[in-house]
Each structure stands twice: as structure tokens, then as C-alpha cells.
């Protein structure tokens, strides 16, 4: 039972960064934009989080700093895409590469020293905040006029422009907010899941997994939260698999395979019949 309890704790801790990054991205996608650079934003968040933690001493200030750093980096996406009409796919990918590279620059400045870690338990205020974030995002999206405006422009940008909705303002704002959350998510990974130590590749594709979870959660904050919890449990079971003698490298593969399988299952069940609520994932 002790083992089960620690597994649940680990699952919840894993779910926190996935949900933070995923909910932000879900809101952005509901407004009609996709930012593929989540992984890069999380990487910069992790590096800045550790560096800031070392210098500031407080993990919470470190999380804040990471969020701000990622939000600033997201201007590399917001300015070209939302203000200048560049292709959002390429810009997102470029942001991924730029963020990863920049994270290596920043992270190597930590010299391998640890920052004061977060304990990553469910008692952690960050876990509670994540829950509150999901609830708040649901209210915003489905119970406020701003949410109506977001969903409207995500359905048809052409109509939104014709009808005078505040398209660039809201999309830009959501992109920056989503980046802030992704930055916090990256820092949480470093501080709570890796004992405050940075290493290259620390985010391990979780940013991409978060993008997949947006789809699995069907672009609803509550859905993304649920998908994050399931994936968090899957990630936590790696140690369990290793205990049963499964090769570590193969156990590492499990979450990516699971997300791939889930995407496939979802496309087969829903893909042809149901239109994604966010136009960015629609194909003709």
C-alpha cells in the first residue's frame, strides 16, 4: 500500500506540469491559434527555474521567474505570427528550437548545482493552484462573454474579423499567458520532479505530450486536466515497470506510445465525424 501511495503521489506530481502547459495551450487553441513551441518554453522555464532558484533561494520566486522568462520568449511567436502574419507552424517549431538552445545556454550556467526543490506532494500549493486554474479556465471559457469571444474567433477567424472581435489582442494575450504557464510547468519539472537539478533535455518531450493532451482532453480545460492525470499515472508507472524487470529504455517509451495510441484511437472514434472545436486542427 505504501508503494501505491507513493505511486499516486508521483502521478499527481507528474500531472501538474502537463496540466499547466496543456490548459494554457488549450485556451490558446480555442482562440484559433496553435503554438508548437511548448516544449521550448518548458525547457527555458526549467533552466531559468533552477538558475533563479539558486540565486533567489525561493522555489516560488523561481517559478514566477520562469513564467516571466517563458512569456518573454513567447514574443518570438506572438510578434511574427499574430502581429505580422507569419506561419504559426514554422514559428512554433522555431520557438521550440530557440527555446531548447537558449535553455542549454541558461542551464549550463547552473554548473550542475541544485536549487532548493519543491516537494511535489499533493499538499504543495502548486497542485491546488493547478486545480483552481482548470476550474477558472472552465468558467472563463463557458461562463463569460470573454469566453464566448474566444470560442467564436476559434471557430472562424474570418467571421471574427468581419464582426470586429478583438482577434490579435485576445490571441496574443492567450499566447503570452499560455507561455507563462508552460514556463512554470518547466520549472516545476526541474524543482519538484528532478530535485532542483538541471540537465540538458530535462523536459524530455513533455511539452509535446502536453500538446497531445490538449487534443485528448478535447480542448476543454477539465478534459486536459483529466488527460494529464492519466498520463501522469502512466509516467509514474515507469518505476513500477522497472521494478518488474522491464528494461528502463523500454519503460521510457511507454508514455509516448500511449499518447500515440490515444491519438489514433481518438481519431478513429471521433476524427471523421466530430469537428474539433479549434479550427487549427481541422483539415479540409
Amino acid at each position: 500500500m505504501v508503494e501505491l501511495a507513493s505511486l499516486v503521489t508521483a502521478a499527481l506530481a507528474n500531472a501538474v506540469p502537463l496540466a499547466l502547459a496543456g490548459i494554457g495551450e488549450a485556451l490558446l487553441e480555442r482562440s484559433g491559434r496553435v503554438n508548437l513551441g511548448v516544449e521550448g518554453l518548458m525547457a527555458i522555464g526549467a533552466a531559468v527555474g533552477v538558475l533563479a532558484g539558486i540565486h533567489l533561494g525561493s522555489p516560488y520566486l523561481a517559478l514566477l521567474g520562469s513564467g516571466i522568462a517563458a512569456a518573454m520568449l513567447s514574443l518570438l511567436y506572438v510578434v511574427p505570427v499574430i502581429l505580422m502574419g507569419a506561419d504559426q507552424i514554422v514559428a512554433g517549431l522555431a520557438l521550440f528550437f530557440a527555446g531548447t538552445a537558449l535553455a542549454d545556454l541558461v542551464g549550463s550556467a547552473t554548473g550542475g548545482a541544485p536549487a532548493p526543490p519543491l516537494d511535489g506532494s499533493p499538499r504543495d500549493p502548486i497542485a491546488a493552484s493547478t486545480l483552481a486554474l482548470a476550474a477558472g479556465a472552465m468558467v472563463l471559457l463557458y461562463r463569460s462573454w470573454l469566453g464566448v469571444e474566444i470560442r467564436a474567433m476559434g471557430e472562424s477567424e474570418e467571421y471574427a474579423v468581419a464582426r470586429g472581435l478583438r482577434v490579435p489582442l485576445i490571441q496574443g494575450g492567450l499566447a503570452v499567458a499560455a507561455a507563462f504557464l508552460a514556463g512554470v510547468a518547466g520549472a516545476y519539472m526541474a524543482l519538484a520532479l528532478h530535485n532542483g537539478r538541471w540537465y540538458s533535455g530535462i523536459t524530455a518531450g513533455w511539452g509535446w505530450i502536453a500538446l497531445g493532451l490538449v487534443i485528448l482532453g478535447y480542448w476543454s480545460p477539465a478534459g486536459v486536466l483529466l488527460a494529464s492525470l492519466l498520463t501522469g499515472a502512466l509516467l509514474a508507472s515507469r518505476t513500477l515497470l522497472a521494478a518488474y524487470g522491464v528494461n528502463e529504455a523500454l519503460a521510457d517509451m511507454a508514455p509516448y506510445l500511449a499518447v500515440l495510441a490515444a491519438l489514433l484511437a481518438m481519431s478513429l472514434v471521433a476524427g471523421r465525424r466530430v469537428r474539433p472545436p479549434a479550427m487549427v486542427w481541422r483539415r479540409e
Binding site: 464566448v148 470560442r151 467564436a152 471557430e155 468581419a162 464582426r163 470586429g164 472581435l165
Partner: protein
Amino acid sequence: MEPLLEARGIWKVYPNGVEANRGVDVELYPGQVYALLGENGAGKTTLVKILSGVEKPTRGMIRLGRGPAPSSPLQAQRAGVYMVPQHPTLFPNLTVLEDIGLALRMAGIKVSREGARRLIRDASARYGLTVDPDARIEGLGVGERQRVEVLKGILVGRRVLFLDEPSTHMTPGEVDTLVSLARRLAGEGRAIVYITHRIEEALAVADKVLVMRRGRLVATLDREEASRDKVLAAMFGRIPGRPKPASTRPGGEVLRVEDLWVPSPHGGWAIRGVSLKVRAGEVLGVAGIAGNGQRELVEAIVGLTKPRRGKILLNGIDIGGLPPQARMRMGLAVVPEERLGWAVAPGLSVCLNTALPLLARNGSPLLLRRSYAKMLAGKVVREARVKTSGLDQPVETLSGGNIQRLVVGRELAAGPRVVVAMNPAAGLDYNGASMVESMLLETAARGAGVLLIDEDLDLLARVSSRIVVLSRGTLTGEFTPPYDVEAIGRAMTMG
């Protein structure tokens, strides 16, 4: 009396050099219905867009009451000026309440959900426009969507209300209701501008008839002095002649559709048991209001969607299981509704856009011979009189009329046995439309069967050998010349 809206010397030159408005003066007074008439491309829509703040004039002065011109649609809406668009721009994923509420808030009317619900209930009861505030837009038909748009117009356009071709998606009966609604709204002190290219409708609705031609306002007629002939003369500068259908004897059957059932992407059926035959040498017109299964019918015949049931025979051969390219190799030609993206691929040259579909039909081999492609494309461009600066010009830089000539020319150059065309003349000016019409007629005269699916009943009546009516996915009538347009209109509402 002060005009609600006053415009002087409006000029609009688009970046591509088109002069859409050339010195237009208008004054709109409360209590009046203005019918704005003109053929496609006369500049009506541009003028209305300028007056409602959507576009800025190149030159000219606009005054709203005593205030200056609105510089955005939102400013115009806050001042009570609103345009009901020709095609509804409602968000399918919202409810009626959310969509209207959003529009009210954009127009500066801060309402809560409940407040919006009250406004919608009151207005819909008062003007007889029944809508369910909690219905999702995607579940509504075109007619219902139009009602929502009009309701929104009533709530926002408290001073000046523009109705842009409001009868596009309406049956003759619905048009009558709309005309009396427009008169009632004017009676309450608004200025109503009713844009149309149908003369009868204009004469029925208007206190004043404004006629535009080639970017100018060429006539302002009072209701009493306006007559069909006067308006026609003003619209065209002369009474126009149109191509006549060739009187060839229809030959054997080239296309046969049997008991076709096509599911709708929104659930239910888009096509419910349609059967029809097209013979060589004839134009079979399919009349109906958009959204009654026209697009799905085209897609099924072309092979883009799989019908759930039924047969499609081309020259007696069942083509149901074949991909589109195989159907084209067997003599099918398609003039789709959308030009950019469906008929031609933007980003590719005029040459490739013309030659590739022809080469693909020849069962062409792996290699693409540039010189041969150029020759093929050059021939089509010459014969269809497409104005280009060269074959390497990207296709999207051509005007709409030129693209359509290119598409029709290309499809006919393949020597088809069957041509499926959907709204081929939509949005073209008089000359462009005439040319497309005569090209289709010539093809029929040369022995092909033409299936012409069009919203424009006048055009269908001019060129069709027979007309069938498609309504809610079924055929509700078949007509032969001389056509009883009223009966066709009634059939459009059945099913």
C-alpha cells in the same frame, strides 16, 4: 429634416486598380426604405461597406447625423448603423443567445446573459421572427440563420440598417414577409437600405430606388416614377440581350443518378433518394436554395464523398466506386462552386493550373513535359480569352472572372461527355457571366450533357432544357419550358 447618414463624393479604388465607386452621393432619411439596385460588380456592396464603416473610401466625406464618419464597423454599430450580411456570419459553435449577445456587446450594448435573452425574446415576439435563443447555430438551417441575422440587425441597427441581398437564401414567400418587415422597421423611424439585383423586389419594398452602374449612382427614382423598364435601362444602359439556348435534339443518356443517399456531415441526410438523368445535348438545371444538398450532390457525382446508397452511371457505366480522376478520364468535367482552392490551386502558375487537370485526364505518364503543358495551357487561355500577363503568372493574381473563364475553358477543353457546373456565373460581371453561359450552351450543342446546379433561377430559366428542383435533399419538381417561375419557387420550399 436632417439625414441620418450623408455621403458625398465617395471614391473607392482597390489596390488591384478596380474603381468600385466613382463619386457617389447619398443621403438617407429616417422612415424611408431605399432599394439599392445594380448588377453584380456595379459597386453596391462596396458602397454599403464604406457606409457601414467596414471599408474606408479612397476619397469622399461621410457624416453620421451631426457626427463624423465611423472609422470601423464597431463605431458604426455603436452609432446604430448595422449591415446584415448577404451570407450569415454566425459562429456555428455558439448558441443563438451567445452569438447575438456577443454582437450586442461589440456594439456597446452591455448585457448579461439574461438581459440578452430578454431582448431576443421581446424582439422576436414583436416582429414575428421566431428563434430559440438556446439553439446551437450549427443545427439551424440557412433560413433560420438569416432570421437570426435580421434579428441582430433590428437590435443593433437602430438608426440605419443595411440589408445586403437579404433574399439570397429565401423562398418567394419568405421574401414577401421580409419586404413587409423592412417597411415596418422604416415606419418606426429607421432608414433601411435594401440591396438587391432583383427588380421586382426593389419595386415592392422601396420608397426610393437607387440604381448603380459601374461604380456610379446613375438614377434615383421615387416609388411612383420607378418602372421595370426605367430601372432596367438605368442598370444596363440598354435592355440587354442574352444568349439563347441552342435548340438541339437531346441524344442518349450520358449521366444517370439512381436513388442517391448521401449523409450530411452534421448528421442526418444531405441527399435523400435523388434520381435524375442527363441526356447528351441538353442542359439539366437544378434549382434550389443553397444548403439544400447542392454541394453534396456535386461531391457525390465527382467522387469526393461516398454515397451511402444509390448508383451513379456515366455513359451507362457504374462509376460509384471510382476516384474522381478515373471519372474524369471517362469524360466527366467539373466546374466547382469555389474557384480558389477547389477549381484552381493558388500558388501554382496559370500554366500548371490549366495543364495538370488535362494531363491527369489523359492518363499521363510519370513525367511532366513543360513544353507540352505550355502548349495545352496556351490553347485554353487563347480560346477562353483569359487575360493574363503570361502563363507563369500565379493563378490567384487573375481576377475572379478570368479564373472562371480559365476553369470553364479547361474543363471544356477536355472534350467531356458530362459537365457538372455549380453556380458558374456567380459573382461575375455581365460580360463574364454571358461568356460562361454561352460556353456551357456550346458544349451542350456539341453533344455533351450539362448538369447545371445554380441558385440563380433567371439564369437557369434562360439556359436549361429542363429544370428539376432540389429541396432538403430531395427532388420536389420537374419543369419544362416555358417555365412557370412561381411554381418552381413553390417547389423550392417543399420536401
